[in-house]
């Protein structure tokens, strides 16, 4: 959901059912936002789109892919299903509601 000053409020659902609320700052990747707020659920790997350890699925809302993601870890089909690498994406200012 949108926030003030270009910030984006997100809800992260983890595999074990927990819900984590956090805020992404403008220009901040999802992974950087998670780490800045102390969330260690998503592992930090290469932070460059190559290793795939920070793969997540966008359940609602939209993201901008800010840098290339390795096709080894996010195929075209997986991308359509909402899978992205958290180190490569930012919340989409225009499409979050």
């Amino acid at each position: 959901m949108g926030g003030d000053d270009g910030e984006h409020r997100l809800v992260v659902e983890t595999g074990d059912g927990a819900r984590i609320e956090l805020v992404c700052r403008p220009g901040e990747t999802l992974l950087a936002g998670l780490r800045r707020q102390g969330c260690r659920t998503v592992p930090v790997g290469c932070r460059s789109g190559g290793c795939g350890v920070c793969r997540v699925r966008v359940i609602a809302g939209a993201v901008v892919v800010a840098r290339p993601m390795s096709a080894t870890h996010v195929s075209a089909v997986a991308r359509q299903q909402g899978h992205v690498l958290a180190c490569c994406v930012q919340p989409d200012a225009g499409r979050f509601d």
């Binding site: 790997g45 190559g50 290793c51 390795s70």
Partner: protein
């Protein structure tokens, strides 16, 4: 071992997902020189103190990782001898014609039991501006960036590292310099040398075949490692760990990532290996100190983050 037929790791070809950012990283930050760009988009680079045409090849791709690591051998007769030994060992080889890479002669390709592709070659052109040879200054032009001296080695992750170590020792003249072992004798990591370096290649046991852990660049000393760390911080290059020291090889090190997530290392100050030296062994319960000597434990990324 003392150098016989295989001289050294000659080049590595890496896949990169954004060439412009990759060139900023490898040329401007690490400080390699761009030698040439091929018609197919591959970019060829070298470190300052290397005589040969190139040692790093970047190939535009939609994935990260390593295409091939190649070893330079003494001469064409050595290439034939090594090929015969591979065939006697039951290894299938493929001829890669001269010119497939700019400046490189014929190559003999094989796939190791870990799934990694390796080439052997004897002929490569000299770089247009290699190190000086007549009344040579320490460098022709002052070094840039992290001031890399040479491409030093790769570390690879794969399943059958026993088979890979057998191939490299029995066919190619490498020696087991330093290894990590479990109490039942299972080798978890093996560091192999074809020279007086502490390692020219290393393998770590991993469930999946053909993964790339890092390629390493030799720097001059601990001060150079510190300056490299300053550059990584200044330019927000993702650091994996370091500056620190390895127990294995005793090398000073920083692991960091290129813009496609391929891990790089800057490395200095490891010991020399000679053929009469005994194998050094770390027990599996000391693997943290073996890999990261000061920290004494592996970080989360060491075992799982590969391309």
């Amino acid at each position: 071992m003392a150098v016989v037929d295989v001289l050294r790791p000659g080049f590595v070809q890496l896949r990169v997902m954004d060439m412009a950012q990759s060139l900023t990283h490898y040329r401007d930050r690490i400080g390699l020189d761009v030698v040439a760009t091929g018609a197919d988009g591959r970019v060829y680079l070298k470190a300052d103190d290397e005589f040969d045409h190139h040692s790093i090849v970047l190939r535009p791709a939609d994935t990260a990782g390593m295409d091939v690591c190649a070893f330079k051998v003494l001469d064409d007769a050595a290439l034939d001898r090594l090929t015969d030994r591979l065939h006697a060992h039951g290894v299938v080889t493929q001829a890669i014609p001269a010119g497939e890479q700019l400046g490189v002669g014929r190559r003999v390709r094989f796939t190791a039991p870990t799934g990694h592709v390796f080439d052997l070659y004897a002929d490569i052109e000299r770089a247009p501006a290699g190190p000086m040879t007549d009344n040579p200054h320490v460098w022709r032009h002052e070094p840039r960036g992290m001031a890399p001296i040479r491409f030093d080695h790769v570390l690879l992750y794969g399943d059958d590292i026993d088979g890979a170590a057998d191939l490299f020792t029995q066919c190619l003249g490498f020696r087991r310099v330093e290894e990590v072992e479990t109490p039942d004798g299972t080798v978890l990591a093996t560091f192999l040398s074809c020279s007086t370096k502490s390692h020219d290649i290393a393998f770590v046991r991993h469930a999946e075949k053909g993964k790339f852990h890092h390629c390493s660049f030799l720097l001059e000393d601990w001060n150079a490692i510190g300056r490299a760390a300053d550059l990584m911080t200044r330019y927000e290059i993702p650091i994996d760990i370091g500056p620190t020291r390895h127990g294995i090889s005793r090398g000073r090190t920083i692991y960091f990532f290129d813009p496609s997530g391929n891990r790089n290392e800057v490395f200095a100050g490891s010991y020399d290996h000679y053929p009469d030296h005994p194998r050094r062994v770390w027990s599996a319960d000391q693997v943290g100190r073996a890999i990261f000597y000061y920290e004494g434990e592996l970080n989360d990324r060491f075992m799982g983050v590969v391309t």
